[in-house]
Symmetry: C2
Subunit: 113 residues, 2 copies
Amino acid sequence: MTESERPPLLPEPPVDALRLEVVLGALADPLRMSVARKLLLDSDEFDHPCGWFGFDRPKSSLTHHFKVLREAGVIHQRQYGLERRSRLRIDDLNRRFPGLLDLIASTGQDRRH
Amino acid sequence: MTESERPPLLPEPPVDALRLEVVLGALADPLRMSVARKLLLDSDEFDHPCGWFGFDRPKSSLTHHFKVLREAGVIHQRQYGLERRSRLRIDDLNRRFPGLLDLIASTGQDRRH
């Protein structure tokens, strides 16, 4: 699917409006940190449906967590039919907060939950 | 004052128990981010009383915010008489979360609050 064939992005803050405190707040939840880390380490090649992450949580809870990440500027989301799919805003995060993604990647080994 | 003359540390998590999500959660508040940034950029040479930061907030609110930082492992606190003073856990944070302090320092220029 080419870029022009993909559904439009759901509302999100533009890169220049990203704020570190807000991004950190979004990442301060273990499940949301997991989402960012998994997108960062496993694949950035496509928009990921919720089910790809393998979380054993109610759909409403996952929908909420993904929305928090999107509204903070951590992920893009697009609506594919009934399903929202996600991708990490790697370039935007690297531009605004150099080192943040390295930090997320490097602390992935000692997850305790 | 030598190390042995300083009051003992208030309870805090040991360095190996620090968790990135918890530290990020503590830093997700603008005032608490300010505390960490100011300690990082302005001085690490002594324990800082609350008043040094120049916040115009009720003492009870400040006490709460400093406690959150201490319990997350971002700062040390010592009780000097009636007053708690704070210092950033620079070595511990660098050891556990390389890049975090650089991130805090480098995004200090675009604070919007």
